[in-house]
């Protein structure tokens, strides 16, 4: 029954539209070990930066009533260690790996990509210009279309592989930034990273997160992603990868109906490590029950 369902992305055919979102699946190694990658079209890695990053002080995960705040701060071992240790192991993944790349400066992005090009493992890249948990000038690069275009074109120059630019919903115009990514040569845009959020303890006047604000994710944010995917899909010709709020098969179908090429699952994967299999199965059942 699965036969007719195919999603094509970056010239490859997949039997699922589900991508595992950056930061919630590591490099896919733990999930592979447990046999949990069935149903995933590809894994998107934790952000990789030029130098190793410790990440933010804990706590890094704080729950709110209806969602989750994270303040990971791009903790990662740096591109050298990724190349040496993680990518060789990731060669065994049963699905492609897309490397999420972050930077502290515009030049960091092509520098990381140049190094990653040494490995045959990555299927492509996701350029993270939108992390709410780092201090780089206070503003995510993604807020400025000019900077987005510049980063995209620098990456284009050094990359032999396709890449998506992951945008922020917190500042600037997501549509203008998406157009800028396309103009710079991006092969997709990811809509979008987490929303800036915060929790405050009114009794103590202190925020549980040391940096006060963090990235907020919640199934209740799905309509925000739906709107942003819809308006972006209308504005650009490159594929749009949807990210934010997915925890049901219906959510995936809704985002695909809005023009998404593929749909990412992040926070929900932490709740259900085999979310990709579950969601894909539910989705195919829904499609079957609808088709004549």
């Amino acid at each position: 029954m699965d036969k007719p369902y195919k999603w094509t992305f970056w010239k490859r055919e997949f039997n699922s539209p589900i991508l595992l979102a950056s930061g919630t699946a590591g490099f896919g190694l733990e999930l592979m070990e447990q046999g949990f990658l069935e149903g995933a079209a590809a894994v998107i890695s934790k952000a990789t930066t030029l130098k190793p990053r410790e990440g933010n002080p804990p706590p890094r995960i704080v729950e709110t009533r209806f969602g989750l705040l994270n303040s990971i701060g791009l903790a990662n071992p740096g591109v050298d260690e990724v190349l040496k240790t993680l990518l060789p192991q990731a060669a065994d993944l049963p699905c492609p790996l897309i490397i999420n790349v972050a930077g502290e400066s515009v030049e960091d992005f092509p520098a990381v990509i140049e190094r990653l090009e040494e490995s045959p493992v990555p299927f492509g890249y996701e350029i993270n210009v939108s992390c709410p948990n780092v201090a780089a000038g206070g503003i995510a690069f993604g807020a400025s279309p000019e900077i987005v275009e510049r980063i995209a074109s620098l990456v284009k120059r050094v990359s032999s592989k396709p890449f998506s630019v992951k945008l922020t919903p917190n500042e600037g115009s997501i549509v203008e930034s998406a157009k800028a990514a396309e103009a710079g040569g991006a092969d997709a845009v990811t809509i979008c990273n987490t929303f800036l959020g915060m929790k405050m303890d009114w009794r103590t006047g202190r925020a549980p997160l040391k940096r006060n604000v963090g990235g907020y994710s919640s199934p209740a944010l799905l309509p925000l992603t739906v709107a942003r995917v819809f308006i972006t899909s209308e504005a650009v010709d490159i594929p749009v990868l949807a990210s934010g709020g997915v925890n049901r098969a219906e959510d995936i179908l809704e985002l695909l109906a809005c023009g998404a090429a593929m749909v990412q699952v992040g926070t929900w994967l932490m709740r259900r490590p085999d979310a990709a299999r579950e969601l894909r199965e539910d989705m195919i059942n829904l499609l079957e029950s609808c088709s004549p």
């Binding site: 733990e30 410790e54 704080v62 990662n76 709740r271």
Partner: protein
Amino acid sequence: MPLSFISEAEPGRFLQLEVSQGSFPVTRRPFTISSVAGNSVDIIFEAVGRGTEILAETKEGRSLRLLGPLGCGYRLNSGKWLLIGGGLGAAGFPGLAAGIDCDQVLLGASSRGKLLTIPGARTVAITEDGSSGTKGLVTDLLGSILWDSYGGIALCGPVPMMKAVIEAIPVKARANVQISAEAMMGCGWGACEGCSVPKAGGGFLKCCSDGPVFPADSIDWERWEGIH
């Protein structure tokens, strides 16, 4: 409970329980595997917030999704063991005590009702309000301990309590101390970098996959206490 789960449920490992059927709370809740018997697993918990309250109200016989066993448990050194627990920190001691040569257990709690029972182990208790054992803190029990006689020392409780205990242990014996850590968790299986515990010498350990049991000297206690 599948047998594979039971056979891997070594002392100190934990599981992640899905407390809610719905979307909220979003994350699972981690609990130490307290003990295993036959094909069942025990956890001991206290209702301290949303997730544990839902759990406390869950009717017998309801099935809940569960992930585990997760993490790394105790290195079961040979020799006699000393177990030191504060409050629910001792939740994992029943299973641990059953798997080692347990000489004695020191337990501290705020009051009698919060003291756990470790079956088959010689236990000395102390409570903050004196409702059971002497009145005081677990550190008050350490004076007469012959630290060098232990092959293994397990320590679990609130961070300030653990730090105080470690400072009371002669430096040489500290190498035998294994602590069980807690941190706010995202995934519970090593992927999200959410559960950081400050590492001695800089950087962070992952509570869920590097731990939750760690050699006491692998932790940066100053930084860790600063978080709490």
